[in-house]
């Protein structure tokens, strides 16, 4: 065997492993397959990439803001839509990571790209906390609506507690938690660059970073959901007892899915704090906690693409309504929710995708 051949042989399993993962971009758990779908997808990404050239800084920054929330939505999509556990408290992980980003960056500063370290640590903290809650719930045989109430309670406890941390005694290092008024003054994400750091204030640069992250997370989730892991999650959603009787440790799977959801909510939280240099306890309150559920349900929770597109649609739509709807905004919002739920039980985007027919159909049924 020549050297090259030997190397080839070594590389082969890796390559086939890679090919296997790539093949999982399509599968029974996700809508959309075939060249037509991917061309459409690429077109959407391309459009998203070039549109800042034709727009102003505010609009792009605002679009970046929409993207910030999509991670939490996709995370909830996994936990609720795929794994069947309705979490009413993704905002707990969102808020925790948001505060963590603030506390860490205020303490260690933003030089040398340390903000990215802070981002990673915050997301890790969100994930760890979610795993802990997940362990507590799933290994404690908590299920169904009880999961919603436990998670809601967790997020409300955090909110109520953080709201009263106004005094100077509530500080971590040099970072004052600052109670209900919220914490501010943390640096945005910065990229170390020759001749001075690039500061990612809300704007075009941040937008591109977020867009790239959304694409990566979306594709990653597609692969994960079509992998055996995703199959088991769906099986648990459909019939947990039977799934266990097929030899799966469903508690472990549920906990891992929950941890993933927590990590993604944490990513949103840290990015939100970095975007606006501000985080507040009300981001863990009842209204905030209900919003992700609305986004995901309206878009379509059983499909990650629908969740992603749907949440952007709803967030942008609600904001537009608030801008143009004056005092009727909330009424119209409410009416739209009732209407969409009645007309499209599977979610607006999911229903649209089904209508659009074959290219969006699920692969490999």
């Amino acid at each position: 065997m020549s050297r090259a051949e030997a190397l080839d042989a070594l590389a082969a399993p890796a390559r086939s492993r890679a090919r296997q993962w790539l093949s999982r971009l399509e599968g029974p758990q996700t809508m959309g397959r075939g060249p037509a779908f991917w061309v459409a997808m690429a077109a959407v990404v391309l459009a998203a990439a070039v549109y800042p050239l034709f727009s102003n800084d505010y609009t792009v920054g605002n679009a970046a803001y929409f993207l910030v929330w999509t991670f939490m939505a996709m995370g909830l999509g996994v936990v609720w839509g795929y794994c069947g556990a309705l979490s009413f408290g993704q905002t707990a992980f969102f808020g925790l990571a948001g505060y963590a980003y603030g506390v860490i960056t205020i303490n260690i500063g933003s030089a040398y790209g340390l903000t990215w370290l802070a981002l990673i640590l915050s997301v890790g903290l969100g994930a760890a906390f979610a795993l802990l809650i997940g362990y507590f719930m799933f290994y404690g045989r908590i299920k169904g609506v009880f999961i919603g109430i436990v998670t809601l309670s967790v997020t409300l406890v955090l909110e109520t507690f953080m709201a009263q941390t106004a005094g100077p005694q509530w500080a971590i290092g040099t970072a004052r938690l600052n109670g209900f008024n919220g914490m501010s003054g943390m640096p945005p994400l910065t990229v170390p660059w020759f001749g001075g750091d690039v500061v990612l204030y809300s704007g075009t640069a941040l937008y591109y970073v977020l867009l790239a992250m959304v694409v990566i997370v979306y594709l990653g989730l597609r692969m994960l959901l079509n992998a055996p892991f995703g199959n088991v999650l769906v099986a648990i959603r459909e019939n947990p007892e039977r799934t266990e009787m097929l030899g799966y440790d469903i508690r472990l799977y549920q906990m891992l899915a929950f941890g993933l959801g927590g990590a993604l909510a944490g990513l949103s939280g840290a990015l939100y704090t970095a975007w606006g240099q501000y985080i507040t306890p009300s981001s863990m309150g009842l209204t905030s906690a209900a919003l992700p559920i609305v986004w995901v349900a309206v878009g379509g929770r059983r499909d990650i693409t629908a969740t992603l597109l749907g949440s952007v649609l709803v967030i942008a739509g609600f904001q537009a309504l608030t801008i143009y709807g004056s005092q009727y905004a909330l009424v119209v919002m409410g009416a739209l929710l009732v209407f969409t739920v009645m007309v499209t039980p599977d979610g607006v985007v999911a229903t649209l995708m089904q209508r659009l027919g074959r290219i969006f159909g699920k692969a490999g049924r």
Binding site: Q164, P168, F180, N181, Y201, S282, T322, Q327, L330
Partner: protein, 386 residues
């Protein structure tokens, strides 16, 4: 330039705080109409860009960006709760905008991009608490909303009580949204309090008054927020708010010609307005002060406007009398009225304090004519010594 002058307005016209803030938007509309009818600011009409922030801090962030970046307004009038102010303040700083916060609050914001027309503790508590102690006795029970506003206000009350030789009979903090007060009522009854300072925020907490009355607590009450903002005396059945004393820089019952004229003009434009509260007056005053500063500066440029402010004579004769902006803190002086709620919920004014300066920040070391820390200070965390 001579296009219109654009004023962004971000106020909670729906949600939790709507009861107290919807009227602020109307006050701004009234001032705008009057100014425009009289030829505008320096000949330029005012154009309002109004967004409903829905009592949601997130909306403040979204819309503050929008008015500054997209609508490119010259100035923003924004915010009811201190939390909302803190949500938008980093953004105002980031884009170097100018914002008016027309709301009474816990004080301490030292930020060159902010102008505050609302009353602050040295105006509301330094008057109210000594008067109450003298009238009813030295033992004070504070009941405050459990967040920055309530905690910092309570800190002020405590300090003033101690300075005046009184004692705190009790201090209790209530999480926002709590509406049941049976235990609190018993705590108060069990204490030796001579009067109760109520710093309750939001509609839910206001339920305290009805419940305390039903349990026959019977103690006089003092407040810096209630009545003057949320007109609880109009909403509750007499005599639940009887013996409530409030220091406010304006409410519609004030009987001066300027006040009555203001009320008349207001009701002519908004006949159904439930109540004209102090923040409505502050918002109205704010626009007029801004008009004056722009006219004197000859532009809407912030540096030019702050140069005018630094002269120290930016004053206005408004519904509550003459008020002036303090260059060091960019807060406003006020005539403070002590409003007493009678058994039938009518209002009397046992006392008035003319022209109280917002002196605390300046004394503590905030001087925006010299530097801009963009921070908020409290008695227990004052500005760093220079």
């Amino acid at each position: 330039q001579d296009g219109p002058i654009k004023i962004g307005v971000l106020e909670d016209q729906s949600g939790d705080f709507a009861a107290a803030t919807a009227v602020k938007v109307h006050a701004i509309e009234l001032a705008t109409k009057e100014i425009n009818d009289a030829g505008g600011i320096d000949g330029r009409p005012i154009e309002l860009v109004v967004y409903d922030t829905q009592s949601d801090n997130r909306r403040y962030q979204e819309f503050m960006r929008r008015v500054l970046q997209q609508d490119e307004v010259d100035v923003v009038f924004a915010g009811f709760s201190s939390a909302s102010r803190e949500a938008y303040r980093p953004i105002v700083n980031q884009f170097d905008g100018l914002a008016f916060y027309n709301n009474q609050y816990e004080g301490g914001v030292c930020d060159a991009n902010m102008i505050v027309t609302g009353a602050v503790p040295e105006q509301q508590f330094s008057t109210l608490i000594p008067w109450m102690m003298e009238t009813y006795g030295p033992n004070v029970y504070t009941l405050a909303a459990d967040y920055n506003f309530g905690q910092i206000s309570a800190e002020w009350v405590r300090q003033i009580v101690e300075e005046n030789g009184g004692t705190m009979a009790g201090e209790e903090f209530i999480p926002l949204g709590v509406s049941q007060f049976s235990q609190t009522i018993q705590n108060i009854q069990q204490s030796e309090a001579d009067f109760v300072v109520t710093l309750l925020v939001g509609a839910a907490q206001a339920s305290y008054y009805e419940q305390a009355n039903a349990a026959d607590v019977g103690l006089p009450m003092a407040s810096s927020v209630n009545v003057g903002q949320g007109y609880e005396h109009k909403r509750f059945t007499p005599p639940s708010l009887a013996d409530m004393y409030v220091t406010t820089n304006y409410i519609e019952e004030i009987d001066s010609p300027a006040s009555q004229d203001f009320v008349e003009r207001f009701r002519a434009m908004f006949p159904d307005e439930p109540y004209i509260n102090q923040e409505a007056a502050n918002s109205y005053i704010g626009i007029n002060l801004y008009k004056q500063m722009v006219e004197r500066a000859g532009s809407t440029d912030h540096d030019a406007i702050r140069a005018v402010l630094a002269e120290g004579d930016v004053c206005f004769d408004g519904p509550s009398g003459n008020v002036c902006l303090d260059p060091k803190s960019q807060h406003m002086s006020h005539t403070i009225f002590l409003a007493k709620v009678e058994d039938d919920h009518s209002i009397t004014f046992p006392e008035t304090w003319e022209n109280i300066e917002p002196y605390w920040l300046g004394d503590a070391g905030c001087d925006l004519t010299q530097n801009d820390p963009s921070a908020q200070y409290t008695p227990s965390s004052p500005p760093p010594a220079p």
